[in-house]
Structure formats: C-alpha cells, structure tokens
Subunit: 376 residues, 2 copies
DNA sequence: GGAGATTCTGACAGCGTAGACATGACTGCG
DNA sequence: CGCAGTCATGTCTACGCTGTCAGAATCTCC
C-alpha cells in the first residue's frame, strides 16, 4: 500500500536558492533546469537534479504563476451531477489534460443558482486559470461575464459565441438523427420523442436532430413529452406518451429515461420491442444488459474532450493563430434488442417487409453486437 | 444565454494598487477590504469596493498564495472513470467544497500507471494545495510519498494511516452486511457474492461485510466470483456463479454487475426474484427502473464527502487540534423487486410462504417504498 | 588568429499580495 | 488633563520564481 509520510515540520520547504547553493550554481540556473530550457550543460543539469532530489525540492507553483503570468491551469465549469454524460465528459477532459502540463480546476454550477455559469466562471477567474472549458452548458438566461482568457464551450450553439470563445459540437444532433433514422428505417410510420430538459443545449440538439430526421423523411411530427433525464421521469412522462396506442417507436433523449420508459411500457403490458421500439442515447454502461438490451447511440466523449482541449490550448499558446473549427465527431449507433420492425397492424398494407427484415440487425457499428443478448 | 465578453487586450488586469489609487487609500487597505479584515471604516470599505468594481478588479490568486503561503485549494485524487460511485463522490466533494473558500484541483490516476496514486499526489503537491483528498483508493503496492499537507483518505483501511493522514470509512462494510442480512432474513440458506475487483478497498470492504454477515449467522460461505464493476463482467462472471443450481441469493458488489447478473439469469431461464434473489450496491439512477427493479443499498456520498472535507479543513486550519474520527455513515437499504424468499424446494419445511407473498410482487418503483426499506 | 556566432551562466528586477510593524486619531477614565 | 487602550490606516518588505540583459566561455570558419 502507498505509504504517505510526513516530511516533518522541522525542515522547511527548500526553494530553488537552496538547491542552487547545494549544486554550486545560481538560482537562475536551477530555474533553467526545471523548465527544460536550452543552454544548460549536461554536467550542471545533473548536479542540479541531484541536489534537488536530495533536498526534496519542488517548484512553488504560486511563485511561478506570479512571475510568469501564466497559471498553467485550466478551469472547467461542470454540472454538479453524476449523470453519465457530464461525468464522462469531465473525465474525458481530465484524461486529455494529463500530460499537457496543465492542471485542472473544477467548479460546478449550482442548480437553481441564478449566478450559474457566470458565477462559476467568475470564481475560476479569481482562482486564476489560463483558459476555461464550459462543459454541457445550460441556458440560464442572459448573463454577461467579462473574461480575459480563452473560453471553450462544449456543445453550445453558435449563439454563445463572442470574442475569444470557441465552441465545439458534441454531435448530439447528428446522433439523434441517426437514432431516429434507425427507427424509420425499420419501418415505423413515425417516431415519438421523450425529450430532455430544454434548458440543456444537448437536449435541444437531440430534439432538433429528431425533428430533422422526421422532416427529411416527410413524416408526421408528434407532440413530445419532456423529462428531466432521470429514469423516474422516463417512467412518468413515458407513461403519458404511451397512453396513445398508436405509438410504435420512441427515441428517448438519454438511456436513463429510455429505461424508465421501458419499465412503463412493460407495466402497461406492452412488449419491447415487439409492440414498441425504444432507442436511448449515451450508451451508459448498463445499457447492454438491461432487459431488453437497449439500442442507443454512443457519444464520443473522449474525442470531443480531446479535440476541444487541443483547440483551447492552441488559443492559449498561440493567440495570433486562426482557430480551426472542430470537426464533427463520429456517429456511433449501437443496435441491440430494444428496437424492431413495427407490429404488423401498425403498418397497413405496405410492401416493406423484405426491406425491413433486411434492415433489422444491419445497423450495427463495430462495437455493436449480434443477437439480443450482448456481452462485449 | 450567457454572453462572454472579452475584456480587451488594451486594458491590463488592474491590481490592488490601481484600486487603491482610485479609492484614495493605500494598497494594504484594499487588501484588508477584500480579506474582510476588521478595522476598516465603512466609508473606506465602500469606496474601495466601488473602485474595484469600476476597474473590474480581481485578486491575483498566485500572488496571494505566494505571500500567504496558503493556496486555498485542496487537491482531489480521483479515479479516471465515470463509474457512478467515484463520480458521485467527486461531485459530493465539489458540493461540499463550495462555499468553504477552497478551490478544487482534480487529478486522476491512470489505470495501469505504476506511479498511480503517489504520482497523482506528487503532481498535486507541485501544483500547490493545502490538503489532499484521496477518493476511492486502489491498492497499488508499496509506494511512499513525502507529503507536507494533511491528507484525507476516503474509504481506506486503517493500514493506510500515517502522520497527518486521516481516514474515513465510507461504510461499505456495513452496507454490504445489511444487504446480505436482508437476503438471509428472507430465508435464504446462504448468499453468494459477486465481488468487485479486489485492488479496490471498497470492493474488499464489501466482501468483508458479506463475510461478516454470513459468519454472524453461522452460514456456509460459498466461493466468490470477481468482476470488474461492469455489467458485462456481471454477466460473464455471474454466468459462472449461477451454473450452480443451488444458488438462490446473490449479493453483487455494485448495481452494474447486479444488472449484468440478472441478464445472465434471465438468459439461463432463471426467474428473478422467484428463483434467485439479487441485491446490488450503489442505487444507481436506473436501478429503480430496470426489470425487475433492483434491491440495493445506497451509499451516502454527500454525507461522506461533507464529513471528510470538514475533517480535512479542520486539519488544515487548526493543525494543533486533535482530530475526531468520523462517525459511521447511515445504512440505507432500498428494497425493490429483485429479492424475495427462496423458492420452496430450497427451504425445506419452513412455514414462510406468507412472508414471501407479502414481499414478492410488490414492484414498487419509488426509491422509498414501504416494507422493509429504510428511507432516510 | 581573430571576428562573429553560439553556448552557457549569473545579476538583478519585478510579479501582486499579505504580514509585521509603525503611526495617528479617537475614546474612556481616573 | 494625560495616559492607556482601541480603532483605522499607511509603510515597507518578503514570498519564490521567471524574464531580461549582460558577460564569459567556447566554437566556427575563412
């Protein structure tokens, strides 16, 4: 087990001057060694490192930040939830940040706090950051924050833009479209939508993607119901939705709500996928193993985080450069057992059975699976 | 939507001296105002705040840290995963930290990195933190880190202790025991265990709690199988476990594995809970809505995070004080529909049918249902 | 062999704040 | 009235590092 040892109050933290004295060089040279600056002879470098090691020297970050004007840390505004999406994105950012030499400062917005995002940004600026990532933003009405570092907004619409602000799509709309198209291709007349809370941009994106898919196929756009991302809301709102017996296909804005919806369907005596097909969104870890295993789309959190961070670091380090906009992340549909062709009576006299049959099970991505039960 | 506005490169960041000049006071007085020090007249305070507001002044954290020797931030070593447990704990810490005046610096350990926790601690110390929280630690073999700030280890065994190190139980063992006892009380002869990866202390705690419960009731302790927390491993390892037809009750070390296990049971033609009862651990958001709704225990993440943080801040701010050890968090068992009395043939000649009927088939979905569950 | 370029090292001056200490102004009280 | 005590503010400086510049040592090449 890791042992954690007190360094003892007797010895104060050594500073670079102490190392310099021990190594017989100037304090500035120690600084050079630790910053990997050129023009330090191999011999001196070795002596400095040895002395530093012997004293247990560590650079003082505060002093570095003060002297250089750069804090070497970036702030992340996250949502104070353990929801799979936000949490995954945060972890993706953490992973991407590692090895860049930048540390992460995380604050999260308080639900119901009117200051919200702007308050969080404010507090990050006070802490001192070289850049800010706003992950999974929520629309909280017009607020203005004065910022002097680059800001990256993950998954916000263009309307968020302003000087120094970068935006990156997380591809929610495309994924939502793919999910809806999958159901349409199976032969469903139309697809209903169990939407996420509309203050969330990602929920709006998914709604939009669903609409686009329906419009592109010239289908009727039914009324939506809106949940709060939770399985409980999926159950409650889903129950309302499926009160309509003509519903044969539902696209839920996340997997949790999809699972709640399936629960509601089963409680109502409807079979999934025989009577109603359900598609989720996120591919949360349990989706492959709930009953029935859930067809869903997978968000490329790591790719989004990595690309976004790269963009931000470039804005920090090469302020003069033009910034390329990020490319669209890949669409990954995971077909499992919660979707199927509509029940016969719901597709009156259409010669589509062959096409439908072909279509079923053909939508799998590399990660998807064979039959209804799918270990990965 | 929040507008983010560049402050413009023309104007440099104002410093306290600028505010002081505008307010007609000394720089030190500005410092006093912003630190809420006593002995500043109301009039001066107002003038300073006005001037600061006018200039858009923000304190420079690096300078503050350098001058005061305190960074006002605490570091969190987290696991680089979006698993519900670790993510929830991290959010709990974030929530608890808010309002304390301490910022959070997060680093996560890389899976497979030999440096692991010690490397993460090292990097936090370099960034400069006043204290460190190690959340959900993993045993990575003997490593020694030299530390000069208080360290709080959430959910590590006593063996982790060392000077300046605090430990807090997350109560996994008690919760595991409650889960196991619940199954025993339903009349099962014994309870099998689908364990988590044993490098995780929390997985060990759960194993231990299960053992304790069995021993306390004088039951036979069956062989365990071990998963990796994922639903997929729950399916795969669970399949091995239930190859034994005498299994009537399984305690899984987390909900994901429990869900995978139920999937495996259903694929094997065993009914849940009629043939086999399953208890999970965590109460992840979908647990109330998977089929059947999962009986599980809920971890008091917020309580643990809050109490732990309080402990740590006390160690930071009153180093002389004796530190009280944290109290045991509450045990919260959530009984849903995945558990019932064992099938008749498994409980030879016991007059328990009435109890079974009562318990079974009550597919209540709300998290705090009646009966044996314990609402908080 | 010496002008110029290149490599290495050091002296010095901040960076923006908080702490130690000094200094008045004012208060209360014998 | 004078002295101690409290309150309000200012002066000066250290915090530990990096950026700038200067100087010394070494190399390069005709």
């Amino acid at each position: 087990m890791a042992r954690i040892v007190d360094r003892g109050t007797s010895t104060a933290m050594p500073r670079s001057a102490d190392v310099a004295r021990l190594a017989g060089v100037s304090q500035k040279t120690v600084s050079r060694v630790f910053n990997d600056e050129p023009y330090v002879s191999a011999d001196v470098r070795r002596r400095v490192l040895e002395a530093a090691d012997q004293l247990g020297y560590r650079r003082n970050n505060a002093a570095r930040a003060l002297a250089s004007g750069r804090t070497r840390s970036i702030g992340v505004v996250s949502l104070g939830t353990a929801l799979y999406g936000p949490a995954s994105l945060l972890m993706g950012i953490e992973r991407a940040a590692r090895g860049t030499g930048y540390a992460l400062r995380v604050v999260s917005t308080v639900e119901g706090d009117p200051a919200g995002i702007s308050g969080a940004v404010q507090s990050l600026l006070e802490q001192g950051v070289d850049g800010i990532i706003i992950s999974e933003p929520i629309d909280q009405g017009p607020v203005t924050v004065r910022v002097d570092v680059p800001v990256l907004v993950l998954g916000a619409p263009a309307s968020f833009s302003a000087p120094l602000v970068l935006t990156t799509s997380v591809g929610s709309d495309l994924l939502a479209r793919a999910a809806t198209d999958h159901l349409l291709n199976l032969g469903h007349q139309t697809v209903h939508h169990l939407a996420g809370p509309q203050q969330w941009y990602s929920a709006r994106d998914r709604l939009q993607g669903w609409r686009t898919a329906l419009a592109a196929s010239g289908r009727f756009e039914p009324e939506i119901v809106t949940g709060d991302w939770s399985a409980a809301s999926g159950y409650a709102e889903g129950s309302k939705l499926i009160a309509d017996p003509t519903v044969t296909a539902v696209f839920a804005a996340n997997d949790d709500m999809a699972i709640g919806l399936i629960h509601a369907l089963v409680d109502a005596g409807r079979r999934v996928p025989d009577d109603v097909s359900v598609v989720g969104f996120d591919d949360i870890p349990v989706s492959a193993h709930v009953l029935p295993p859930l067809t869903t789309v997978r968000q490329p959190f790591d790719a989004v985080a990595e690309e976004g961070l790269k963009l931000l670091l470039r804005a920090i380090e090469e302020p003069q450069d033009d910034l390329p906009s990020a490319s669209d992340p890949p669409v990954e549909l995971v077909v499992r057992a919660s979707t199927a062709c509509p029940p016969p009576r719901m597709t009156p006299g259409q010669g589509k059975r062959a096409a439908t049959a072909t279509n079923r099970g053909s939508h799998r991505s590399a990660t998807s699976d064979g039959g209804p039960s799918i270990p990965h």
